[in-house]
């Protein structure tokens, strides 16, 4: 922090997180996704530059992770005291977390959750008729390494029906949650799979006004990183908000 009233160069300090480009995101009110109708604020968001608390954020240490946290094929069965693998198409999902400036985001927590190979979630509120897999919980965690790289192993989730326009179908997807290093870098999204024919019909992907933005949620088949006789690989890179460099900082006017 500069002393009150000081302006000028603050070498070595970290700047603000850049403004969020809301055009990359769905608006709150998207009537084709019916649940959004009553859950969308109708007033304009109050726009402010982030303060010191918003430019900072929670720190999660790698020591909170269990050894199998990034292996959804095995982590649930093991927690239950069993040793079986989950059923389904075995895949590795990997990629790099960058910020908008292209800098890797190291040592940041990633959480994922998903349905099993039949499209059923292990959740007290999911009553879809597809059966649960006794060896699949559907949750995992990992941290990016020093270069922003991450990976986890899982099975490809199944599509599932949901009540929206009658029975809509979700394309296969994995939910993903990222923290970055600032409170306002927080991001929760979903990754889809290249070539899934349900993608064009999905009302939730359809909340994105920009088709090019939706394309950036599609994980790409990565044959080069497929594990021979074991698992296919998909690549999914994530971009979080960037951080400005600090040059000259002004006191805001009119406040």
């Amino acid at each position: 922090m500069p002393a009150d009233g000081m302006t000028g160069l603050m070498a070595g300090t970290q700047g603000d997180i850049m403004r969020r480009d809301r055009n990359q995101h769905p608006p709150a009110f998207t009537p084709q996704y019916k649940t959004s109708v009553l859950r969308s604020p109708r007033r304009a968001l109050v726009s402010l530059e982030p303060g010191p608390g918003e430019n900072a954020g929670p720190v999660f240490k790698a020591r909170i992770l269990e050894p199998l946290d990034n292996d959804l094929i095995r982590n649930y069965a093991q927690a239950e005291g069993n040793h079986g693998d989950a059923q389904g198409e075995r895949i590795i999902v990997h990629g790099k977390v960058l910020d908008e400036c292209g800098r890797p985001v190291p040592n940041t927590l990633i959480e994922v959750w998903q349905a099993n190979a039949g499209g059923r979630y292990r959740h007290k509120n999911d009553s879809y008729l597809a059966p649960l897999d006794p060896n699949f919980g559907g949750q995992g965690r990992c941290m990016t390494d020093a270069d922003g790289n991450y990976f986890f192993r899982t099975i490809r989730p199944g599509p599932y029906p949901w009540r929206n326009n009658g029975s809509d179908w979700r394309p296969a997807h994995i939910h993903i949650s990222l923290f970055g290093h600032a409170f306002v870098q927080r991001l929760v999204s979903q990754l889809y799979f290249e070539g899934d024919p349900l993608i064009p019909f999905c009302p939730i992907i359809g909340t994105l006004p920009d088709k090019a933005a939706a394309e950036r949620l599609v994980a790409r088949l990565d044959m080069g990183n497929a594990v021979p006789f074991d698992a296919l690989a998909y690549r999914f890179d994530v971009v979080l908000r960037g951080r400005r460099q600090t040059f000259f900082e002004n006191r805001p006017e009119g406040m």
Binding site: P2, D4, R20, D21, R22, Q24, P26, T30, Y33, T35, V37, L38, R39, S40, P41, R42, R43, L45, V46, S47, L48, E49, G51, P52, G53, E54, G57, P58, Y76, E80, D99, E100, E111, W113, Y121, R122, H123, K124, N125, D126, G137, G138, Q139, H175, S177, F183, V184, R186, V188, S189, I204, I205, T207, L208, A214, R216, L240, R241, R251, M255
Partner: protein, 193 residues
């Protein structure tokens, strides 16, 4: 051509099963059952915050997930062992959620002016396409609330009260009630910071 940056990955709703990845024990999984991320340990005065998220029909949202971020009792972030971060699920029956934490201290704003003590909250849920960001302030701090630079940036003075909790009676620790309205006359102020 202006300088090009990478584009932020688009948000998608956390969906109804957000708990599997974030609070697995709440979802019903027998994993990480000892974790209590709605309780934030640290030095300072213990406080409780309870609340509801209310939809545009007046109905509590029963599948919301809330995340809390705050300074420690001295107004510092990421100092010592204090995480400053918590996570709570709305009850599947009633929509009630609860945090126990320490009363946050004063954090300076960008220009050095003090902010009134507050916690920041994010709301995730089915039907919320990109998480909502709000703040909860404490009702006792009348003078600090009046001077708070963030509250003052809300142009309609009448809306500022949507960010101030109510004090409720509780024997064990100071307790606050914070009702978040997604729509309607009392729509809570949400930020784009």
């Amino acid at each position: 051509m202006p300088v090009e940056y990478l584009k932020e990955t688009p948000s998608q709703t956390g969906g109804p099963y957000v708990h599997i990845g974030t609070l697995p024990a709440f979802a019903g999984l027998a994993v990480r059952t000892q974790e209590q991320p709605h309780i934030i340990d640290g030095a300072g005065e213990r406080i409780r915050i309870t609340g509801l998220v209310i939809d545009g029909s007046g109905t509590p949202v029963r599948d919301a997930l809330l995340e809390l971020w705050q300074a420690d009792a001295e107004g510092r972030h990421n100092a010592g062992d204090f995480s400053g971060w918590g996570r709570a699920a709305a009850s599947s029956e009633t929509g009630e959620w609860m945090f126990e934490t320490v009363r946050p201290g004063v954090v300076p704003w960008r220009d050095g002016r003090p902010q009134a003590p507050h916690v920041s909250l994010l709301i995730f849920a089915r039907g919320i396409n990109i998480h909502l960001h709000t703040r909860m302030y404490f009702p006792e701090d009348a003078a600090a609330l009046e001077a708070d630079p963030v509250l003052r940036s809300v142009e309609q003075a009448g809306r500022r009260a949507t960010l101030v909790a109510e004090r409720t009676a509780a024997a064990d620790m100071p307790s606050y009630r914070f009702t978040i309205h997604l729509q309607g006359d009392a729509e809570t102020v949400f930020f784009d910071m």
